[in-house]
């Protein structure tokens, strides 16, 4: 029993730092990418043919942004963004530096997820709002987003879990975090115990995020 306790406590400091770094990277990049990703997704949907702000050119540009960024593997994107990261925060190494490529990768991801969620909203409901004299802005803020909220929450949950995965790759630029610990200690130094511990923590983290997302979506879903 004592041994088990000692076993758990042993790397606690290291792992705790890792958890904090993971939360920091994923949290900030989630917040910023949601801020940009939602308008991007909304923009793609409403400029589509037959939609409330139909505009084929803007639609093409926004779709292209999503497709181009999404087709670049994260590790490549991270390296390619080094000059941009350095320009933004004066360094390209470390936890904060990792937030930049994580955010850039997440924006189109969220954009696509928002697009899919908004398309689930029944066209009849949008029409009803139009018939009542709603402006496009009112339709977006009072109909499209609230009606698709449960689905958006589930989409953002997927994004958060994807970012937890990406943040491990960001270890390559010294980002820290749980994934980085697993690679450095487990792979490079053959410390299997630490690796197993990080993997368990990652599983708990991902499971926790998913459970919370499901719960929130369910609570908000009245359909």
């Amino acid at each position: 029993m004592k041994n088990l306790l000692a076993f758990i406590i042993k790397d606690l400091g290291l792992l705790w730092t890792g958890i904090q770094q993971t939360f920091y990277m994923v949290g900030i990049s989630m917040a910023i990418s949601t801020l940009f990703g939602i308008p991007l997704g909304v923009g793609v949907v409403v400029t589509e043919e037959g939609n409330i702000l139909e505009n084929k050119y803007i639609n093409f540009i926004l779709s292209a942004i999503i497709n181009v960024v999404r087709s670049i593997p994260f590790i490549v994107l991270m390296v390619a963004l080094i000059p941009f990261t350095r320009f933004l925060i004066n360094t390209s190494i470390g936890t904060t530096a990792a937030v930049v490529p994580l955010t850039i990768a997440a924006i189109p991801f969220i954009g696509r997820i928002v697009e899919n969620s908004l398309k689930e909203v029944d066209n009849g409901v949008i029409e009803a709002a139009q018939a009542m004299g709603a402006t496009p802005w009112e339709i977006i803020t009072k109909v499209l987003l609230p009606e698709s909220l449960p689905s958006l929450i589930l989409g953002l949950t997927i994004t958060a879990i994807t970012l937890i995965g990406f943040s491990a790759i960001a270890g390559a630029i010294g980002a820290g975090g749980l994934g980085d610990i697993a690679v450095r200690y487990g792979y490079h130094r053959f410390e299997t115990v630490i690796m197993v511990k990080t993997v368990i923590l990652l599983i708990i983290l991902v499971q926790g995020v998913q459970t919370f997302g499901n719960w929130l979506a369910n609570t908000l879903d009245h359909s």
Partner: protein, 350 residues
């Protein structure tokens, strides 16, 4: 109130264009309940959606209260739409909002303040009989209740006109009945003009004052409901009317000897309206023409409060006398007779 002038709607397709509305001219007077009926594909939906410009007409004008909607810019059109409430076949309520918040939606759009919204919402929920459901979500309501919410929502900005897009088509007969009662109530209490489209003649019979029949993008017949029911002229109209009237004629009558064998006599259907119901029609026939009249079937109904009856009688006796009796019936006003033959194609006389 509403004037529709030469309304045309063409949907451009890849191979060929589809002409949904081929030039419609109609007038809807203030306070009327105007019904538009037609078989599916006739263009009913396009028609009602053109009225508030949810579909942009290809040509023509929609004039509501002297204002030509087709000439308005986007902003003016949004304002004009607040005068035109609309309800839908699938209700189209916001699932994320409670009943009260759904009704509040158009008021929010019209920039009403909180107090006004609260007062209006409770007043409307009272009107549609859902005051106790204010905090429920649409998914917790039955179809009929959802449509009541839709009606309350459509009335929120005190519109002059209520457009009903197949509003009862997804409801069961009993619920349909109660929704129609509510619409009639609203029409009488608030003086709102109602324009509805439907494929059910029952709906027309129950609440409309005027009806237009649409076929293949054209209005083929228009008039007071009672006239359309008693004197339908076009085939499509006759079919709709028969769906209600003939539905009641027992099938086995068609195998009567008088139908299969005209030497034995005639089977005739008499439709009479209003005052003619009180004339001693049958006894006059028997008396004046010395023939036998056997009443096989009778039914009386009311359309807009006017009695409207159907009688099927078998005339036997001297064939010449029977023919003159039928001729005599042709001449009386307010009576329409049909000789039922075995080809099921009924010859109709007026």
């Amino acid at each position: 109130m509403i004037e529709i002038k030469n309304l045309k709607k063409v949907y451009s397709g890849e191979e060929k264009d589809v002409e949904a509305l081929k030039g419609i001219d109609l007038k809807v007077e203030h306070g009327e309940i105007f019904g538009l009926i037609g078989p599916s594909g006739a263009g009913k939906s396009s028609f009602i959606r053109c009225l508030n410009l949810l579909e942009e007409p290809t040509a023509g004008q929609i004039i509501v209260d002297g204002q030509d909607l087709t000439a308005l810019n986007t902003k003016e059109l949004r304002e004009a739409r607040k005068e035109l409430g609309m309800i839908f076949q699938n209700f189209n309520l916001l699932n994320s909002r409670t009943v009260a918040d759904n009704v509040a939606f158009p008021l929010e759009i019209a920039d009403a303040n909180k107090e006004e919204i609260n007062d209006k919402v409770s007043e409307l929920l009272e009107l549609v009989g859902l005051a106790d459901k204010a905090d429920s979500y649409p998914s917790q309501l039955s179809g009929g209740q959802q449509q009541r919410v839709g009606i309350a929502r459509a009335l929120a900005n005190d519109p002059k006109v209520l457009l009903c897009d197949e509003a009862t088509s997804s409801l069961d007969p009993e619920t349909t009945h109660s929704i129609l009662d509510l619409l009639r109530d609203i029409n009488e209490k608030l003086g709102i003009t109602i324009v509805l489209i439907t494929h059910e003649m029952e709906v027309i019979k129950e609440i409309c004052t005027k009806v237009a029949v649409l076929e293949a993008g054209k209005v083929v017949e228009v008039g007071d409901v009672i006239d359309i029911f008693t004197k339908p002229e076009k085939n499509v109209t006759k079919k709709f009317v028969q769906r209600i009237i003939n539905a009641n004629v027992p099938e086995e009558l068609l195998s009567r000897v008088t139908v299969e064998n005209p030497e034995h006599g005639r089977l005739i259907k008499i439709c009479f309206v209003g005052d003619s119901a009180s004339e001693p029609l049958v006894s006059d026939l028997v008396h004046n023409f010395q023939i036998d009249a056997n009443i096989l079937y009778g039914n009386i109904d009311k359309i807009q409060g006017i009695p409207f009856g159907t009688l099927i009688i078998e005339l036997t006796g001297d064939l010449d006398q029977i023919e003159s009796a039928i001729d005599c019936l042709h001449e009386s006003d307010n009576v329409r007779i049909e000789v039922i033959t075995d080809e099921e194609s009924v010859s109709i006389h007026y």
